[in-house]
């Protein structure tokens, strides 16, 4: 190496990949192209098309509700038969999601410990996730219907004089939402819990904290962001309830949920534009709740929980 010291001359010897990387180009990103094409064709285009539909109301809608191209939105907010479905859906989805999350916490706490039969119990709790909503609804009708086992057994032993009305109403849909939503919430919360270092609880013990204080002061604050996430996911699942609202609910009465309204506009009235409007508003309501919960979550501690998770 005699000659001009330090000065670099001639062509760079770095590979093409390195030279592209210097300019901020990563060729592996090209692998995303097929996925992007599919997403554009099957999601972005139909979604935009749907939004476009909402501002092309039918002549009948324009005449009935006015508002020009926004007639569908006017109808959504003014027509109590449609707008009440927001409240009816909330009335189902909020308590169902809340119950699923809150009931999962103690169960997941107990199932952290090692004991005989734990595997069996966990399997039983998670099993309903493998049943479809339709199967669940079918089972509920047979089990809890007027002539179902529950009612017959209760009548037989004389606890009740008349069969309880457990299905084809609000209660039936609620049962179905809990049966399908609970395993989901339980699995999520279990994994959040296992992410909390067990030695934190042991440390709290040696510092004199009883079980409630350990839960209140240590476990709960560390679990809270996970609870919020679980709540959001189970809420969205419950909010878009459709089959059970129809099968074990009171489809034109107290379980007249938004998805049923959208389906009615689409399937019975052939009004695609109104159906799209209802679907879009459904998304908007979900988004509002999700934003509110995640907003609250951002106020909480969200760092490490010390464990393997």
């Amino acid at each position: 190496m005699s000659g001009v010291g330090g000065q670099q001359t001639g062509r760079a010897t770095a590979s093409l990949r390195h030279r592209l990387a210097e300019r901020g180009i990563d060729p592996t990103l090209l692998l995303l192209v097929p996925g992007l094409v599919v997403a554009l064709a099957l999601f972005v285009y139909p979604f935009s098309y749907g939004i476009g539909l909402t501002v092309q109301p039918t002549a009948a809608m324009q005449e009935q509700w006015g508002g020009g191209i926004l007639a569908n939105y006017v109808a959504f907010f003014r027509d109590p038969f449609v707008f009440d479905s927001v409240w009816l859906t909330m009335r189902l989805a909020l308590p169902a999601a809340l119950f699923n999350v809150l009931a999962s916490v103690p169960v997941a706490m107990v199932l952290r410990h090692r004991f005989r039969g734990k595997r069996l119990l966990t399997s039983l709790l998670v099993l309903p996730i493998t049943l479809g909503t339709v199967l669940t609804a079918q089972g509920l009708l047979i089990f809890a219907g007027r002539q179902g086992w529950i009612n017959r057994a209760l009548l037989e032993i004389g606890l009740i004089d008349e069969p309880l009305k457990l299905v084809n109403n609000y209660l039936g849909v609620m049962f179905s939402l809990v049966i399908t939503g609970f395993p989901f919430a339980f699995l999520l919360i279990s994994s959040y819990l296992s992410g909390i270092d067990p030695s934190l609880e042991r440390a709290a013990k040696t510092l004199g904290a009883g079980w409630w204080q350990r839960f209140r002061r240590i476990i709960l604050p560390l679990l809270a962001p996970g609870l919020a996430t679980t709540f959001v996911l189970t809420f969205v699942l419950a909010f878009s309830v459709f089959p059970s609202a129809r099968l074990v609910g009171d489809a034109m009465g107290e379980t007249r949920v938004m998805s049923l309204m959208a389906f009615r506009a689409f399937g019975e009235q052939n009004d695609y534009a109104m159906a799209s409007t209802i679907a879009l508003m459904m998304g908007a309501v979900e988004l509002l709740v999700v934003a509110a919960v995640l907003g609250l979550r951002s106020l909480l501690y969200r760092g490490t929980t010390g464990g393997k998770g």
Binding site: S199, L200, R202, A204, G208, G303, T304, T305
Partner: protein
């Protein structure tokens, strides 16, 4: 400051699915004492600590505090402070709030909590970091918070579970000094679990060496360092050369042994017998590297072959250690470790000798050794 006279463990044992993790632990700890439980992983030392803390129920024996049974109390009612290997700081609470946690659990008045927390944080020199979350601190700082959190309650007993094992070598030395300083200034009775004999020797007033769930030897650091009762303890006390050998003859506390793998009449050593030995016994010979004298010329008359008490060998490794060199000497099948100020040539011949009183000859079997608790 500790508010008791003695803590007594009587036949404490713990079984996990038919296996004894800890058995027959008898130990009496006086107020203000610093006791180290020393042993390799799986020897039961952490089990013993967890049993004391109440985090593991005992399967045998009892724990008495001034004659009152405490092993049936839940951990939150024992009032012992514990420092965990993983620190176990509450990640969502600031340093201050971590330290205040135990006082809040005791329902102390706010003003008292504030002043005691401030004092404890000052004690571990973290004043500037009081408002930070544990995640923003270095490992050593986190460990200091864990210590402050345990000592702020002025517990009757502080339990430390390998508190320094997650720190790097230099920090470990600093923290060791720190723990010693805290113990000397606060006088808190401490039980300290470690697998590092240097840590145990430098910190503790008394050491408990454990093996397979049982106590092997109990004594003060210099008792254990100078007169281990088994080769297992010797191994922990810096006797790096633990050599299997056979007794050739015994006379008046001195035993002549022959190392295996050397020619008949070859490497023979004379050492002090620990325990009862007779000719033909299998033994282990323990010698510290610094007790060997490394000679580069053959002892006695040149070319006279081997001399009793001298081990000839070939230098295979030389490491620079500052003032000295660590030398690995191959003799027969065994590698001997020695230290010498002058570095010999790798591949050259050397002759190792060691004073009789520095060569300890132990029976091969460990189970024969009866642990003796030295009255402290």
């Amino acid at each position: 400051m500790s508010d008791f006279d003695s803590l007594e463990l009587r036949g404490v044992g713990r079984r996990f699915g038919g296996v004894d993790a800890l058995s027959g632990l008898d130990l009496t700890i006086k107020s203000g004492e610093f006791v180290a439980l020393l042993g390799p992983s799986g020897c039961g030392k952490s089990t013993a600590l967890n049993c004391l803390a109440g985090l593991l129920p005992l399967t045998h024996g009892e724990i008495l505090l001034d004659g009152k049974r405490i092993d049936t109390l839940p951990p939150e009612r024992r009032g012992f402070g514990m420092v965990f290997q993983s620190y176990a700081l509450f990640p969502h609470l600031s340093v201050e709030k971590n330290v205040a946690f135990g006082l809040q659990m005791q329902g102390r008045p706010r003003a008292e909590i504030e002043s005691r927390v401030r004092e404890a944080i000052k004690l571990v020199k973290l004043d500037e970091h009081a408002k930070k979350l544990p995640g923003q601190l270095s490992g050593g700082q986190q460990q200091r918070v864990a210590i402050a959190r345990a000592v702020v309650l002025e517990p009757s007993l502080v339990l430390m579970d390998e508190p320094l094992s997650n720190l790097d070598a230099k920090l470990r030395l600093d923290m060791r000094t720190e723990i010693r300083r805290l113990h000397q200034s606060l006088g808190l009775t401490t039980i300290y679990v470690t697998h590092d004999q240097e840590e145990a020797l430098s910190l503790a007033d008394r050491l408990v060496v454990m093996r397979e769930g049982r106590v092997q030897q109990v004594g003060t650091p210099d008792e254990l360092y100078e007169s281990p009762t088994s080769w297992y303890v010797a191994d922990f006390m810096g006797y790096r050369n633990i050599l299997p050998a056979t007794v050739v003859s015994v006379s008046g506390g001195e035993a002549v042994v022959q190392l295996p793998g050397t020619a008949d009449g070859g490497a023979r050593l004379t050492g002090s017998a620990v325990g009862v030995l007779s000719a033909g016994d299998s033994v282990r010979v323990a010698i510290r590297p610094d007790d060997f004298v490394v000679a580069q010329d053959p002892p006695g008359s040149a070319g006279a072959g081997t001399v009793p008490g001298t081990v000839p060998g070939t230098v295979s490794v030389v490491e620079y250690h500052g003032r000295e060199h660590a030398v690995g000497v191959q003799t027969g099948d065994t590698m001997l470790h020695a230290r010498t100020p002058v570095a010999p040539q790798v591949g050259g011949s050397v002759w190792l000798t060691a004073p009789v009183e520095r060569v300890l000859v132990f029976p091969d079997s460990l189970d024969a050794v009866v642990p003796v608790e030295v009255a402290a």
